[in-house]
């Protein structure tokens, strides 16, 4: 068992496609809220296996896409300080800030370096004690525990040249915000890797309060199709609940060790989401005990005025109200090379995935 190829068999996807076609007796719209799902759906050509009646929309689950321009500006300002290096995930490099993207800032001389983990950023701090390393902490419940573990390690080492600029976010509050503001969906393909940490029960409020179907899904083609079939069956039988397709790694209660690390280091705070605006208690900030690692308070930087007005409809795309080709900028002023909105930037963004895999379809 390697947990990958076993779920990529053509015999599975073909059978599931037929079962879905048989089960789909009306129109259905489901939203995936994890960027990993968006990119897997497009990469495996899942839409081409679904009947026209079943529509998939991409929600706000790409952490890169929802990171605000203000945050990007702050990263660039920090990386422009003489003794500071910003360590960030590669996906953030081309996210537009107010004036520049991190990639363009590197060309201007800012010191931003790509890392694969928080731990790698801490290693940079260990190997160069003269330099101040700021780790750009983005991502949802899946990623934040890794930051927490790393901060605790830096703390126990007594490290004084390692900092974190947190834009960590919480998924359930964002899903609830979307539902409150109105969207037209029948159910959620719930984010499997968020659920590994939070447990599937974190989504119980959705069927309970909003009467929508939920399936916690894995990321292989058979997982995705199976989850769509489970959602259709929930809708058909008018029995919304939270089911877990991704049971090989998701439990009802989640990873309690990871939750304990999170709770030790972080506390919920209000957060700004690109496209969705301000959402109460949807972000994570360092608790007082670890505040000395907070790059936001440790460094004073001045930021450019954010005055940009744009015709970008990222916000509506993230809410599932419109799809990328409905935006006037899509594929003209906004392309993966010159992204205007954040959804075009990340491999996991809705617009980027449309452009790469379905453009002019």
């Amino acid at each position: 068992m390697k947990f990958v190829d076993e779920f990529r068999q053509r015999s599975q996807t073909e059978s599931l496609a037929r079962l879905i076609a048989e089960a789909a007796t009306r129109d259905y719209t489901f939203m995936e809220v994890c960027g990993g799902h968006t990119s897997a759906i497009h990469r495996f050509g899942i839409p081409s296996l679904l009947p026209d009646r079943v529509r998939l929309l991409s929600g706000p689950g790409c952490p890169v896409c929802v990171t605000s321009a203000d945050y990007i500006d702050r990263l660039i300002a920090l990386a422009s300080l003489r003794d500071v290096t910003v360590a960030l995930f590669g996906d953030l490099m081309r996210v537009p800030g107010t004036l520049l993207s991190p990639a363009a800032a590197v060309a201007e001389g800012a010191d931003l370096r790509v890392v694969l983990s928080a731990h790698e950023a801490l290693q940079m701090a260990q190997s160069d004690p003269q330099r101040k390393i700021v780790f750009s902490a983005v991502g949802f419940e899946t990623t934040a525990p890794g930051t927490a573990v790393t901060v605790m390690q830096a703390d126990s080492e007594g490290r004084d040249n390692f900092y974190v600029l947190s834009a960590h976010k919480l998924m359930p509050p964002a899903m609830e915000a979307i539902l409150k503001d109105g969207t037209r969906i029948d159910g959620f393909i719930c984010p499997g890797h968020v659920a590994v940490i939070t447990g599937a029960s974190a989504f119980d409020f959705i069927p309970e309060r909003y009467g929508l179907a939920c399936v916690v899904a894995g990321f292989e083609p058979a997982d995705l199709l199976m989850s769509v079939l489970m959602l259709i069956r929930q809708v058909n039988s008018s029995s919304p609940s939270v089911e877990t397709e991704y049971s090989r790694v998701v439990s009802s209660k989640g990873n309690q060790r990871a939750q304990a690390y999170l709770a030790e280091v972080f506390e919920p705070c209000d957060a700004q989401w690109r496209g969705l605006g301000h959402i109460a208690l949807s972000g994570l900030r360092l608790r007082d005990r670890y505040r000395r690692f907070d790059a936001g308070t440790a460094f004073r930087v001045s930021l450019p005025e954010s005055t940009r007005a744009s015709a970008c409809i990222c916000g509506e795309i993230l809410r599932g109200l419109r799809s990328p080709p409905e935006c006037v900028l899509y594929a003209s002023q906004c392309t993966p090379e010159h992204p205007e909105g954040a959804c075009m930037v990340s491999e996991e963004g809705a617009c980027n995935s449309w452009f790469k895999y379905r453009h002019d379809e």
């Binding site: 990958v4 990993g36 983990s117 731990h119 983005v138 899946t142 790694v249 060790r257 990871a258």
Partner: protein, 81 residues
């Protein structure tokens, strides 16, 4: 960056382990997973093992998928007969 992948543990030293993803060896923090051993599969995300993969559950999902395939192919067979 949302990528999380099944990885096989090939060695463990304290809180850190070496894991293999399709033959590529990475470092992984093991702080979040309890009682893992060499040979176990974990879910690797941004340099950390965030959960142990459950083989029995995976087999169960595969069994369900197989049942569906058989049901579909079986119903074809019935039509032919």
């Amino acid at each position: 960056m949302c990528l999380s992948l099944p990885a096989r543990i090939i060695s463990i030293e304290g809180d850190m382990g070496q894991v293999s993803v399709g033959g590529v060896v990475f470092q992984a923090g093991l702080q979040m997973v309890e009682g893992v051993r060499v040979g176990d599969y974990v879910l690797l995300h941004a340099g950390f093992a965030i959960e142990k993969m459950k083989e029995e559950e995976a087999m169960e999902t595969l069994r369900l998928l197989k049942e569906m395939e058989d049901a579909i192919n079986g119903s074809d067979g019935d039509e032919v007969c």
